[in-house]
Symmetry: C2
Subunit: 396 residues, 2 copies
């Protein structure tokens, strides 16, 4: 017992909480912020969030909602106009009929992952994840007592998981997959043929396919196809955080297979109540902010071109095809043994923040760095210039 | 395969999703809305959400944040000024020193439950819940593969779980408890002595105590004590949704025992990223909106007095001590066998929406109705008048 009569016991976190890894990118961010606090100007090529405010029309809608609406609890599935607007998006962009009844507005894609995974899988189930991939996938799986099965999807596999690998794992009892296209951190995309084949192999084996489409509309060649084009029984997860530039508003959506709609609704009522009301009203305007959003995308495309142009001259020639998202994933094994150490040196000596690959790939990540190019053009230009100078001095 | 070449497979929800019950109150709400759509005016005594907008100062802060801040991602633990302000709340209201390092801003209390439960317990662990109690507790436990152990806390137990019951269950391996005071649906409160004894018995057995304090500051006699007054190793969960009237903004907080802080931070990064940025900035002003909030509380107190005055005259004399929150939990066994049927009749015949007890108590809930009194005085007056007329016609 403490001096003040309050008891003091010591226990510790659960096993499953212990299995959740911190993001290395967060440590990079913290070190970068400490540097900046000491007066250094850091070029940010580490964080995967669009800078600046949400689109003007979105902010206007938020202001209007504050005046006209009480912003109390909403239907756990989201406000009807937004669910209808999202359904219409699939008609407009993909030529697909999706009932608003299957559309759930979620507290970012994060809540959608939790809902889909709990609705679809029981504790202990194996769920396939592309490796490299978004680290929160395997961490959420661990937190929910699911078992990540890492599907090799690196340079050797052409940056996509292999159908025969998945088939073999499904035969051994894997329960489903959670896959993204475009991929964070590689920027690679699945072709229509690949996506169709992956959906087919999972569903033929009776598994559940969860498609993370958060980087849709951020593609620099052909647009991305939704997995809904190939099956009505996939979970499709999307968000207003990336293309729509509404990161901190925490609003996304999910299209749910009919057989799971009631289960997801009840889970959402209990676990989340509803996505933030003001963000739902604001998001309704996001679909009408195309002009501003396409301007942003042109900026990403310009930054991407700068990187593709400058990196080879620094000896960085080996990267995944940067077809979508705003990332470039670069093999640095010719320069250094370990990308964590390399990233730290680049941060402290060149004042450029980049992300080591270990977050995304526990196996081969130390050979890779992820460059994010959603910062301002000035940041990217400054970053590349400093990087070039540093590389010149430090190249082996 | 469908006609359009899209595959169509059928699987179904997981076992754990199937264990999650829908809220009966939601069905009541839906029926009430259908009635209203047909032109009937319904008096709302079913929903546990303060009506109207958030306090004026909160809305101003939200508007200011939209102008001055990009509202991007924040620290997973929440923005520093809000964490500091919450820490100061414990000094001001409870005379306790709480480090801001232990304060986590969460996406409503909902996210705090998920984070605390995953951080503290592994799959299969038994967690004690007072019965009757908030139904989402047991549903979230089921979704996270934890095992609800219902602790009798009804009229016979004086509306509080018994220390010896908990001691016996802890000896048999129960891992901890999640308890609230004031309680939804009963409005009952734990005395200081009871709360201290409950914390002690759980911690002495090496278990984890999670204290839901969402109805703090909504008490009509002595103020509620925080469990932090009795131990530094409890999880304390609170929210801006009830007293602070910010329901749809989805922002709450949690004070985390030191040994769990890192685990909760990493879980929050992965599962939630951050509580909505605009809501965090808005919540900062909630502590300064006391005048408006105390006016609301006076309104609840007035409504409560109306109920306490009117119900006995209708033959409803048997209810839990309505010391806090904005609920009155009433034994209706003298009137009807089943409160679900009674609630439906009252809705359709008297046009008053109330909640049957089965949501809160799967064992004895059919003997109880919950009256919520956070609606407007006009709603409560109209509701009581109709209820009195209906009772007069229908009393046995």
């Amino acid at each position: 017992m403490g001096e003040d009569g309050r008891t003091k016991v010591s226990r510790g976190p659960s096993r499953r909480a212990g299995a959740v890894d911190p993001f290395i990118v967060m440590d990079v961010l913290r070190e970068a912020q400490a540097l900046e606090a000491s007066g250094v100007r850091v070029a940010h090529m580490e964080v995967g969030q669009p800078g600046g405010k949400a689109p003007r029309k979105v902010l206007e809608a938020a202001r209007r909602a504050m005046e006209q609406d009480d912003l109390g609890y909403t239907d756990a599935r989201g406000i009807a106009p937004l669910r209808e607007r999202i359904a219409r998006y699939y008609a407009e962009k993909h030529g697909l009929e999706v009932s608003p009844e299957r559309v759930f507005v979620t507290t970012g894609s994060s809540a959608a992952f939790t809902l889909a995974l709990i609705a679809a899988f029981d504790a202990g189930a194996g769920v396939g994840l592309a490796n490299p991939g978004y680290p929160a996938y395997r961490n959420i799986l661990n937190a929910l007592d699911l078992r990540p099965e890492l599907l090799a999807a690196g340079a050797e596999e052409g940056w996509a998981p292999r159908v025969d690998d998945i088939a073999a794992r499904m035969a051994r009892g894997m329960a489903g997959v959670l896959l993204a296209s475009p991929v964070n951190p590689t920027g690679a995309m699945l072709s229509d043929r690949e996506l169709r084949a992956l959906v087919r192999v999972v569903e033929d084996a009776g598994g559940v396919f969860i498609s993370d489409e958060i980087y849709h509309r951020l593609t620099y060649g052909a647009p991305a196809r939704t997995a809904l084009a190939f099956s009505e029984d996939v979970f499709v997860i999307n968000s207003f955080s990336k293309y729509y530039a509404m990161t901190g508003w925490r609003v996304g959506w999910m299209v749910v297979p009919e057989a799971y709609c009631r289960a997801v609704e009840v889970l959402a009522q209990n676990m989340f109540i509803n996505a933030p009301s003001i963000s739902q009203h604001a998001a309704l305007a996001a679909f009408e902010a195309t002009e501003e959003l396409e301007e942003r995308k042109r900026q990403y495309a310009g930054n991407r071109a700068l990187l593709l142009d400058a990196l080879p001259g620094m000896g960085l020639r080996d990267f995944a095809p940067a077809e979508g998202a705003f990332y470039l994933y670069c093999d640095i094994s010719a320069l250094a043994e370990d990308s964590v150490g390399l990233a730290r040196r680049i941060l402290h000596e060149a004042h450029v923040a980049v992300t080591p690959g270990m977050d995304f790939d526990p196996m081969n990540g130390r050979r890779y760095l992820r460059f994010s190019y959603c910062a301002s053009r000035a940041d990217i230009e400054a970053g590349l210039e400093r990087l070039a100078r540093w590389m010149q001095r430090n190249r082996p």
